[in-house]
């Protein structure tokens, strides 16, 4: 007997032809066979057996799904959660969850695929947090038994990148979002001999015009993902913020988070933090895998204000410039800052603004009311300063 999803909408009938959002959440925080059994293999020697951040991240994401998820075109139809929590850690989930075993992952994914494929207007959302690997340059995710057989790792880990490729060509859901919160280490020859298989072996559909699909990763290739013990990862926290509205834009009087705005917002967050190479945010990565027309993921709330960082080029001009900001059409007073060597960091409303820079030194030409936009989730703007 196939397991029921963790939660399904009372008014949703599997056979009813209507667009719905179907969410699969997988969190692996308990790896009982790591690191002892797998320690002999260098590629696995430092993998932790307990990931409390996986538990907290799973709970954080699930709470967003049930918040409730707002998408009138595709209301939430089902939510399935697989979570393996370390001993002594209470997940605190509002819905029941099954263990994130390898068999559990296969079954849950197959069933989620079926639900997502029932209507071309469906929204498919997949979220994974746990240990990640790379084999043959393909992203691999792991189940809780990972490492049980150190001579053959493939039964307990899956090639998620190939899985997603198969979903693109074999699932008619018009919107497909994949969120992978896991390490993406460099390829390691020790892992390549293991034949990691996709979660979906033989799609039942053949999609000629794939829907809008993208993959958001917590880190770019070759790097490690991390989180603070007992807390959601920075990636998951940002993801929820962006899905709640900061990753959206205004359209038809609504604040929409779409397959176009969300990847752009994730990139913007990474760019904003790029100056701090040690920050988790600087590693965020997105891969848009189809060129389909954007689709709605959720309706969010317009942010009140967003972070704004203003710089000058050349940078030396900052230390000599008096800077001022004014929102176009607003009755609020100008925002001002005196000379300082670092960029000006502030928060402003989304919309059009004007910028002034006046220099004590005759070496630079003043900037007078240059127009620029502030949009979500944050904005970096560098103004060129002419030299005399």
């Amino acid at each position: 007997m196939e397991p029921e999803p963790s939660w399904q909408a009372p008014d949703w009938q599997p056979d009813k032809a209507e667009a719905r959002t179907h969410v699969l959440v997988i969190g692996v925080g308990d790896y009982p066979y790591l690191p002892d059994r797998a320690k002999k293999m260098l590629a696995l020697s430092s993998l932790g057996a307990r990931l409390t951040t996986s538990v907290a991240s799973t709970a954080h994401f699930v709470q967003w799904v049930l918040a409730p998820l707002r998408n009138d075109a595709a209301p939430l139809g089902s939510l399935d959660v697989l979570l393996s929590a370390p001993e002594g850690v209470t997940p605190g989930l509002p819905v029941p969850a099954r263990e994130a075993t390898a068999d559990g992952l296969r079954t849950a994914f197959r069933n989620w695929y079926r639900r997502c494929s029932q209507h071309h207007g469906n929204v498919a959302i997949f979220y994974y947090v746990g240990h990640g690997l790379t084999s043959h340059a393909r992203q691999v995710i792991t189940a809780q038994e990972f490492g049980r057989d150190d001579l053959d790792l493939s039964p307990h880990a899956f090639d998620i990148k190939t899985t997603i490729d198969l979903m693109r060509d074999g699932c008619p859901a018009r919107v497909q979002c994949y969120f992978i919160d896991a390490c993406r280490p460099p390829s390691n020859v020790q892992l390549d001999p293991h034949d990691f298989q996709p979660l979906l072996r033989a799609p039942q559909h053949n999609v000629s015009a794939p829907g809008a699909q993208f993959i958001a990763y917590s880190v770019y290739p070759g790097t490690s993902a991390r989180g603070i013990e007992g807390q959601p990862t920075a990636f998951t926290r940002w993801l929820v913020r962006l899905l709640n509205g900061e990753g959206g834009t205004q359209r038809n009087r609504c604040w929409e988070v779409t397959t176009e705005t969300l990847p752009a917002a994730i990139r913007r967050v990474a760019e904003y933090h790029a100056l701090d190479a040690t920050s988790d945010e600087a590693k965020f990565d997105v891969e848009v895998t189809t060129a389909a027309r954007p689709g709605l993921i959720a309706l969010g709330t317009k942010p009140q204000t967003v972070p704004l960082r203003l710089g000058l080029s050349p940078e030396d001009a900052l230390a000599l410039g008096h800077l001022a900001l004014r929102e176009v059409g607003a009755s609020t007073d100008d925002d001002q800052r005196g000379p300082a060597p670092e960029p000006w960091e502030t928060r402003r409303s989304i919309g059009y603004h004007q910028f002034w820079a006046r220099f004590a030194s005759p070496a630079f030409v003043d900037i007078e009311g240059e127009l620029f936009t502030v949009d979500s989730p944050m904005r970096c703007e560098t103004f060129e300063v002419a030299s005399r």
Binding site: K40, S45, L47, T53, H131, P185, S218, S224, R226
Partner: protein
């Protein structure tokens, strides 16, 4: 004037220490030294002959500062990194105006000083350069683990492209040293890598080094602040790219060497050492100047000593090679008013020059001679294989002579001391013992 010592700020070091494994405990050294209540103790390092700014020298100044701080100043609670001053007198040394035109007989090809030194390091460390490239390090570590670690770190620090990489390497090197010190307390004698409990699990060089780094970091996926990694933490490829470049450089050496004529290495190393020593020494004596108007080399060193002296009431001076002779000349003749609490001469010729009467302060009395009274304690360190490192205690009995085995050959031992992680660990013990002795004396 170049004040390299001021490049490192306390904030920067906090950043580095913040990155590093919090379980690393500096104060776990076997020898416990109670710091005097007074305050910081600046350290002045005076370099030796053949030192010229740019390239390798600049890289080593920063790494050496971190190692001095991490291994000596911080564990002994003597001060912060910005207490280290590095007077640079190389710009006043011998100048080869035509780029060693006298040297070339024609047809010789040089790999570059770093590679020549690296070959010497590897040969000194017992690395058999014939055979497959991968496994060189592993085989060398079987023979002598500490010297191999010294060689790999030395090459990698030269490969590091950024200051951050060098800082990371230096701090990671100290973690490795702490780890090995726990495994083999005291780090005495020659240690084989096969004694490491996990050694048999690694065959390839990269595996061996990654495992060593991971074990040194605690072999866990958590770091300060309770961070958990969602996969393999990357202490290695990401953070230590210079280490892998150093490894690749070592791997290329057998092929590079095969193209060299027999005796090439001995010839190039001997030439470098001798021409620089003769050139700098001759230049120093030519321009050292009268007492009231010291020459530029002496003045540079005096400036640093005065600056350090003005900061606090205690001072350590570490001088390598010719730097020891210059410091002795300064403290015994030019500025006997500058008090030094501890002088450490390393691979120095002070005893030799004193015997043949080259210093300004001439003492023609029969032995023993008395050390300058403004030098409270004096340690002299030399490798028995160092052709340019001599005893001092036979001239000045108050000086303590210590032997340190760089594991290097006759031609390279002289320049190896400060490139070796283990040297700093041993020096810490000598400094602590000397300062503890001073306290006991009430001086």
């Amino acid at each position: 004037m170049v004040w390299y010592g001021t490049e490192i700020t306390v904030a920067h070091l906090k950043h580095i220490v913040g990155w590093s494994n919090p379980r690393r405990v500096w104060h776990s050294a076997a020898l416990v030294w109670s710091a005097p209540e007074m305050s910081n103790m600046p350290l002045v390092f005076v370099h030796g002959v053949g030192t010229r700014s740019g390239g390798v020298y600049d890289k080593w100044v920063r790494a050496r500062n971190l190692l001095f701080h991490g291994e000596i100043l911080e564990p002994l609670e003597l001060g912060s990194p910005d207490e280290i001053l590095n007077p640079y007198w190389g710009e006043f040394g011998a100048k080869f105006r035509w780029n060693h035109a006298y040297w070339q007989l024609g047809g010789e090809e040089r790999l570059g000083p770093a590679d020549e030194q690296l070959v010497a390091i590897l040969q000194d460390a017992g690395i058999e350069l014939a055979g497959p490239a991968d496994g060189l390090i592993r085989r060398a570590a079987e023979h002598d683990l500490l010297q191999t670690i010294n060689a790999v770190w030395s090459a990698s620090i030269e490969e590091a492209a950024t200051v951050e990489e060098r800082d990371d390497l230096a701090v990671a090197g100290l973690e490795v040293l702490d780890y090995l010190d726990r495994q083999f307390p005291g780090l005495e004698g020659r240690i084989s890598a096969s004694a490491l409990p996990w050694a048999q699990e690694t065959d390839r060089d990269e595996e061996f080094l990654i495992r060593l780094l991971e074990e040194a970091e605690g072999g866990q996926t958590k770091e300060s602040g309770g961070a958990e990694y969602l996969g393999k933490k990357d202490p290695s490829r990401q953070r230590f790219s210079a280490l892998w470049q150093g490894l690749e450089r070592i791997g290329r050496l057998p092929a590079d060497l095969a193209a060299k004529p027999a005796g090439w290495l001995v010839h190039t190393l001997a030439q470098d050492s001798i021409e620089m020593l003769v050139g700098d020494v001759a230049w120093y004596f030519e321009q050292r100047g009268p007492k009231q108007n010291p020459g530029p080399i002496n003045q540079e060193v005096i400036n640093s000593l005065e600056a350090a002296r003005s900061r606090n009431s205690k001072l350590i001076v570490v001088a390598h090679s010719m730097g020891g002779n210059i410091v002795y000349d300064v403290l015994s003749w030019y500025r006997p008013d500058i008090e030094v609490d501890l002088l450490v001469t390393v691979g120095s010729q002070v005893g030799y020059f004193e015997e043949i009467g080259l210093f300004r302060k001439q003492d023609r009395e029969p032995l023993p001679h008395v050390k300058p009274p403004n030098v409270k304690r004096w340690i002299n360190i030399a490798d028995r294989s160092d052709l340019l490192g001599y005893s001092v205690s036979r001239i000045f009995p108050e000086v303590l002579d210590y032997a340190y085995d760089t594991g290097s050959g006759l031609l390279t031992a002289h320049s190896r001391y400060f490139e070796q992680l283990v040297f700093y660990r041993r020096l810490r013990r000598r400094v602590a013992a000397s300062l503890a002795h001073e306290g006991a004396d009430g001086t």
